[in-house]
């Protein structure tokens, strides 16, 4: 199945490039290891045919690259969009971050991507090679052992609770749309909500105190597309660079970051994927999504282009602050 999509993607993208429809393609290629799949820009059809990788390791959301690439590249930019990435794509369009006319989007079906940290934990030692089979990964370890790992055990959390596998933006769909995940997206948030304030504080203190302020979450986030982030701007009054001894600055950073993307975050989960300390940052964003849904009615950022985000909108009978959504 995945192999079919990859072949199709290689063929179509190369065709489009040869026909001059697109000047380059945002896609993925293999890095150093089998699980190490990196985002890249292809400029020739030969590269595409040889190197394009569309599989369970093609995890990176490519949509944000469109901002800089459409500014630089000639002609139309091709992009491969997983369903969840297509929401980011729309959200960026809503915010006028690139010109739709300059982009040709190839939609990809997706059944989930692998969390490589989970995979490595599951394997327990160095990985020599990986073969992707139907529903499982065949892993050869450095010690020469071969282990079969079911994909369901190493799918990323964001994929298990994926909001929709129905792509919302593409010029052309490669393959069939896959059925939606059925796990509750807000279960983890609800679990935290049910704790006492002390327990929640302890939980977040434990998580956020590991933050090293590498900014990977911010820099990878398609909603964090500011020309210049307030945290990098000495005149903003909130510029910070490092975690302080008592971790206030990380709290500030993560609260403000979550607030800035509130109503704009599509829950793509990239923030948590890239966190070198594995802080579940998506739980902050998802809390805002859950609150927005319950306070102001269901809203999915990026579901449609041009929709009015909840924080730039209001009704006269919105709930009062501090009352948990009670009007």
């Amino acid at each position: 199945m995945q192999k079919i999509t990859e072949d199709l993607a290689r063929r179509r993208a190369a065709e489009l490039m040869r026909a001059g429809e697109i000047s380059c393609l945002l896609g993925w290629k293999k890095g150093e290891f089998d699980y190490d799949v990196e985002p890249t820009v292809f400029y020739t059809p030969e590269e595409v045919e040889r190197e394009l990788v569309c599989n369970v390791f093609s995890a990176a959301n490519l949509s944000k690259y469109l901002i800089s690439l459409t500014r630089k590249a000639e002609g139309r930019v091709g992009i491969l969009l997983k369903p969840c990435d297509s929401f980011s794509f729309n959200q960026l369009l809503t915010e006028h971050r690139f010109d739709r006319e300059r982009v040709y989007a190839l939609g990809l079906p997706c059944e989930g991507t692998v969390d490589t940290f989970l995979l490595k934990e599951r394997v327990g030692e160095g990985i020599y090679s990986i073969k992707i089979k139907d529903g499982a990964l065949e892993v050869e370890t450095l010690s020469g052992e071969v282990k079969e790992i079911p994909l369901s055990e190493v799918y990323a959390e964001r994929c298990l609770v994926c909001k929709s596998r129905r792509p919302v933006a593409y010029d052309e769909m490669l393959g069939e749309v896959t059925p939606d995940a059925d796990e509750d997206r807000f279960a983890q948030v609800e679990k935290l909500e049910s704790m006492t304030a002390e327990e929640r504080y302890a939980f977040w203190q434990g998580e956020l105190s590991r933050c090293i302020r590498c900014n990977a979450c911010r820099n990878v986030c398609p909603a964090c597309s500011c020309e210049r982030c307030v945290f990098d701007n000495p005149t903003s009054g909130v510029e910070t660079k490092a975690p302080s001894e008592d971790s206030f600055e990380e709290k500030m950073f993560h609260i403000i970051r979550a607030f800035h993307v509130a109503g704009r975050c599509t829950d793509c989960g990239e923030c948590s994927r890239v966190c070198p300390e594995r802080i579940p940052l998506h739980l902050l964003n998802r809390k805002f999504i859950k609150d927005i849904n319950s306070f102001y009615g269901d809203y999915t950022a990026g579901a449609e282009v041009g929709s009015r985000a909840p924080l730039v909108s209001y009704t006269k009978d919105d709930p009062e602050p501090g009352q948990g959504g009670q009007k």
Partner: protein
């Protein structure tokens, strides 16, 4: 680095009694940048202001902090004093140590400590102040009045009298509005036409006034002093400049059964018509919904009879673009639809009518030539029941009607009842009311005359049900004072229907970015202090579009709106509040968040080429604030993620400095 002077005011004993002013001025001396600190009995006095001037000169101050009463009290005073001393007036910060300190804290130690903290916050903010200069924009010396009723006409006449050009846009074929449909007016009982039509003629003849009748506002752009308005002049299929208003066409037109809206459908007109004899402009209009020529190309009678050759079946809508400095909204009101009031049988009996219909029935130019006859059989009614508050003062839970009082009904009902009794003494007249509200000059006297001299039977209580039975209307009502049910067989029932804003007001408000209340009345900039201005700069309100009102009030507001417009147009340039939003284009993402929260439409977007940090050039979409329109609320500053949007005078870093100083 700023050189800051601190002036602590005693306000006599108002401050000095609970705040140790000497300690405050001493403590603030140690704040960074403070080079001079003193205290004085009355800083707002001339002597106090002189002290400021002197200190500025002596110490080379770049900014001053006044610890005194509320800035709402004397900010302007001290800004002027600063300007007189050669400082930019915005290099002044005020620490409110009276209303928010000495008057509310009784402990001297605590009060003094808080005053010091507030002073520190002001110093911290002042460090980040920048001199601000009010912006200037030119003013187009022409006003637009939307709506040609008495409100619009009066506003236009007053503006024109001051020597400014003014255009009236009226959606109907004639100006005159609701007042032209009225018979007599309370409390003087002079005839509405007699006082209105001269004004209509005056408007038509005033060379400063242009009337666009049968026209509507299509779009509004721009801002105060510089509105760009497109007016759609609907095709009336008659050349206005040629038509003499002789009326021949309206007599010869073969289509005779068109409901006459001027008489509220109680009689008919032709497909080509002039609404009423004194219409302005007195020009015929062809109704395209009924005209055979326009519908199927067969007829052409009017063109044949028109000796002036004014008929033009090929006429099309015309778009007129015009620039205005000010816009007055005078869109007026309409009686509400009574569909939901089945209990009053309005839809089932022709003899249940609204008060406005009653006006037409008693008007000499009305369908009955002024004779009071029942619509059903043309007989003279001998018992008339007036019902007040039909749809006014309804509980929100009722799901129909309006919660507000329509204000004019008590008086016009008294008028109508009185006139019936005067003209037809044999007629029995009942008025059912919740309360009779008569606040106005000579109003209560008028009502009492109706009840006492003219024998109108006022009954406190509501009509529960009206059932048509044969020739009579069975009125079932309660008399709350006598505490009994009444059953009256009436010949005619008149309902004082609530009034609501004209339906054209809502889309217009959107075009003007003017705000409305939940009832679609335009909101005023301040209910007490700026009652004739909309919050949107340059947009003014005249008449019932802002709330129910009678003719004298409407005319008064019309004049007030005109005075505001004249005040605006008299200026060659507008100076605007410099504390407005400003955008750092290098940081702007062009995401539109700010535009979406701006209540004034002050933000637009432009595509601009930028040299990026990596020395490439990129075309980027960035926000642009119109400082003449921005009112400085700051909603955009928080909507902006990148912090590109800031508010002058209340910049993020200034507020943060205050926070820091307070939490120290």
């Amino acid at each position: 680095m700023q050189r800051i002077g601190v002036f602590v005011c005693w306000c006599g004993s108002n401050i000095a009694a609970t705040v140790d002013v000497e300690a405050v001025s001493q403590a603030l001396k140690d704040e960074p940048g403070v080079v001079f600190s003193t205290n004085y009995q009355y800083m707002c006095s001339q002597a106090g202001q002189d002290l400021i001037k002197q200190a500025v000169a002596e110490h080379g101050l770049t900014g001053i902090v006044i610890c005194s009463c509320s800035p709402r009290m004397h900010e302007t005073t001290f800004r002027r004093a600063a300007a007189a001393a050669g400082l930019n007036p915005y290099m002044v910060e005020i620490a409110n140590i009276r209303e928010q300190c000495s008057w509310v804290h009784k402990d001297i130690a605590l009060g003094t400590q808080k005053a010091i903290v507030l002073g520190r916050a002001a110093v911290a903010k002042l460090h980040l102040n920048a001199p601000l200069t009010p912006g200037e924009t030119p003013v187009t010396k022409r006003a637009l009045v939307i709506g040609g009723g008495i409100a619009g006409i009066q506003t236009a006449l007053d503006i024109a009298d001051a020597g400014f050009k003014v255009d009236i846009v009226e959606k109907k074929p004639t100006i005159g509005g609701k007042m032209s449909q009225l018979d007599k007016t309370f409390p003087t009982l002079d005839c509405a036409a007699c006082i209105l039509t001269p004004k209509m003629v005056e408007a038509a003849q005033n060379e400063n006034i242009t009337i666009y009748s049968y026209s509507e506002v299509e779009s509004v752009g721009g801002f105060v002093g510089n509105f760009d308005v497109t007016i759609r002049k609907k095709a009336r299929y008659v050349n206005e400049s040629i038509c003499t208003g002789c009326g021949l066409c309206t007599e010869k037109c073969p289509v005779k059964n068109v409901p006459n809206e001027f008489n509220l459908g109680m009689d008919s007109r032709r497909a080509v018509y002039i609404p009423f004899a004194q219409a302005v402009p007195k020009v015929a209009t062809i109704d395209p919904d009924y005209c055979n020529m326009l519908k199927n190309g067969k007829c052409g009678v009017c063109a044949r009879v028109c000796t002036a050759g004014a008929i033009d079946y090929k006429q099309t809508d015309e778009l007129i673009e015009q620039k205005y400095g000010a816009i007055v909204v005078a869109t007026g009101y309409e009686p509400i639809k009574l569909d939901k009031f089945d209990e009053f049988a309005y839809n089932s009996s022709p003899d249940v009518i609204t008060s406005l219909e009653f006006e037409r029935l008693t008007n000499a130019a009305g369908p009955t030539s002024g004779k009071l006859l029942r619509p059903s059989d043309g007989k003279h009614p001998h018992r008339i029941v007036f019902v007040q508050c039909v749809g006014s003062r309804c509980a929100a839970a009722a799901g129909k009607g309006k919660e507000y009082c329509s204000k004019i009904c008590c008086m016009y009902t008294a008028k109508q009842a009185m006139l019936v009794r005067d003209k037809y003494p044999d007629t029995e007249v009942y008025v059912f009311y919740i309360d009779v509200r008569t606040p106005g000059k000579n109003f209560d006297e008028f009502y009492r005359r109706a009840a006492e001299e003219y024998g109108v039977k006022y009954v406190k209580g509501m009509v529960g049900k009206i059932s048509p039975q044969g020739e009579v209307l069975k009125v079932q009502a309660s008399d709350l004072i006598a505490g009994r049910q009444l059953h009256i067989d009436a010949d005619l029932v008149v309902l004082a229907a609530a009034i609501e804003p004209d339906r054209s007001a809502r889309p217009l408000a959107t075009m003007l970015t003017a705000s409305m209340d939940t009832n679609d009345f335009f909101t005023e900039a301040h209910p007490k202090l700026r009652p004739v201005e909309s919050p949107t700069a340059g947009v003014f309100l005249s008449g019932a579009c802002q709330g129910p009102k009678d003719i004298p009030e409407t005319v008064a507001q019309a004049g007030a709106a005109a005075a505001k417009v004249i005040g605006l147009l008299a200026k060659d340039k507008l100076t605007s509040n410099p504390c407005v939003a400003s955008v750092d284009e290098l940081m702007c993402n062009g995401c539109s968040s700010c535009e979406r929260v701006c209540p004034y439409g002050a933000i637009s977007y432009v595509n601009k080429e930028f040299r990026m940090p990596d020395r490439t050039v990129a075309l980027r979409r960035v926000a642009s604030v119109n400082p003449a329109v921005c009112q400085g609320c700051g909603a955009c500053t928080v909507a902006c993620m990148s912090g590109a949007m800031d508010l002058r005078g209340f910049e993020a870093k200034q507020i943060i400095a205050e926070v820091d100083a307070i939490c120290k």
